[in-house]
């Protein structure tokens, strides 16, 4: 289980438009509380006194409506449900639209060890960004041995034994203008059961590569920022293996897939032997994958043309044969 505290949430570095813009305005002792799921609760019902099925393990979000209701309760000096609300082990409460709770509410939260956060974002926008972030954090994850590169916009995961030439292949691909996401260890995340997002296991060490004979190289410095990427959806799996003359390799383009974290990923097996230009095979595989996404299957179309040609040929033969009988 992933441990994700409220402090981690505040610290999380999100890019530009996804920023949560959170600020802690009270209950600092509660920042160590952890989140366990990616749900968000709007506590309208609990505030009105109805606590059945109250999802207290989720982030409690106060939008404009909840904040107005909180004010009304305070004006009526009706603190019973607010006090009961804070008696639950709530991970945190968030006030949207830059709403300021009264000092009494903050002290109640403080006393119960629950942090109070504030964001200038509107509740709908905040909910969207937060769910996206939490989905990613609580996603099922595995770390595998391989290299993730982006080739013509397709995320290609290279796998294979140590020493088969994954890193060298990736190096050649980068030289040709493609991008590296991670060398050697790739962390894969199942995002909402739909896609597989791959990234480096560690941001500090990502974009370094070990090449036998040269040692460890910093690719950002060697090739420039244009040659790297932080994360990318895995759309194609390329398995490199030493050439085995007894094995039957794919010759006509039948499609293989492999399940990773329950998500099917198209797969090609590429045998490697000295003198074989693996990078160009991978580039071609990536182009072919893009064509398939556009609905054009080279192998199938080829087969279709062969079939219709054979058909027309046999029709002509029939005609010729008939002529001969005259």
């Amino acid at each position: 289980m992933v441990e994700f505290s409220i402090l981690d949430l505040l610290d999380h570095d999100l890019k530009d438009h996804n920023q949560l813009k959170l600020r802690c305005i009270g209950g600092r002792s509660g920042l160590s509380r952890t989140l366990t799921d990616s749900k968000i609760s709007r506590p309208g019902l609990p505030l009105s006194g109805f606590f059945e099925e109250f999802s207290y393990q989720s982030v409690q979000l106060f939008g404009k409506g909840e904040q107005r209701y909180l004010k009304k309760l305070e004006e009526e000096k009706n603190f019973a449900s607010i006090e009961k609300f804070f008696s639950y082990p709530i991970p945190t409460v968030v006030f949207c639209d830059g709403g300021e709770p009264s000092s009494h509410i903050i002290s109640l939260a403080d006393a119960s060890g629950c942090s109070v956060l504030q964001t200038p974002l509107e509740s709908a926008e905040f909910t969207r960004s937060l769910i996206q972030l939490l989905d990613e954090i609580f996603a099922e994850t595995i770390t595998i041995h391989g290299v993730l590169v982006e080739v013509y916009g397709v995320g290609v995961l290279l796998t294979g034994e140590s020493g088969v030439g994954k890193s060298e292949t990736a190096l050649e691909l980068i030289e040709r203008g493609h991008r590296l996401i991670s060398d050697d260890t790739v962390t894969l995340r199942n995002i909402s059961g739909n896609f597989l997002i791959g990234s480096g296991a560690n941001n500090l060490l990502a974009h370094h590569m070990e090449i036998r004979g040269l040692g460890i190289l910093n690719l950002t410095n060697l090739f420039g920022v244009g040659s790297i990427r932080e994360k990318k959806q895995v759309q194609l799996l390329v398995h490199l293996e030493p050439w085995d003359s007894n094995k039957n390799y794919e010759r006509v383009g039948e499609e293989l897939t492999e399940l990773i974290l329950g998500i099917p990923v198209p797969k090609v097996e590429v045998p490697v032997k000295p003198g074989r230009n693996v990078p160009i095979i991978i580039e071609t595989a990536a182009r072919n994958e893009r064509l398939k996404k556009l609905g054009y299957f080279s192998a199938k179309e080829f087969d279709q043309s062969v079939l219709s040609w054979l058909e027309s040929e046999s029709a002509r033969n029939l005609y010729y044969n008939n002529e001969e009988t005259f």
Partner: protein
């Protein structure tokens, strides 16, 4: 498959040199070597993989070997940890 629990005993943790040493020893055997820390499992024949584990002083790792010479390989790697990577 052979599994062993090991601890990082050298002060500096597993940096580039110890990682290279592990890979060098691991490559003398035919068996596969995997090293696991927290929820991360990596191939023990890859330097970058081992460094990525971020194994600092006193961290506990699980090594596992699989193959024809798995016992010898596990022994050799365990010995390396006990010797503090000759540091």
């Amino acid at each position: 498959m052979v599994e062993r629990e090991v601890e990082v005993l050298n002060r500096a943790g597993i940096h580039a040199r110890p990682a290279a040493l592990i890979v060098k020893i691991a490559n003398q055997f035919e068996s596969h070597l995997y090293i696991e820390k927290d929820r991360m499992k990596i191939n023990g024949k890859s330097i970058m993989g081992i460094i990525t584990l971020g194994a600092a002083y006193k961290s506990k790792l699980t090594i596992s070997t699989e193959g024809v010479d798995e016992v010898e390989a596990a022994d050799a790697i365990e010995q390396l940890f006990l010797n503090r990577f000759e540091e």
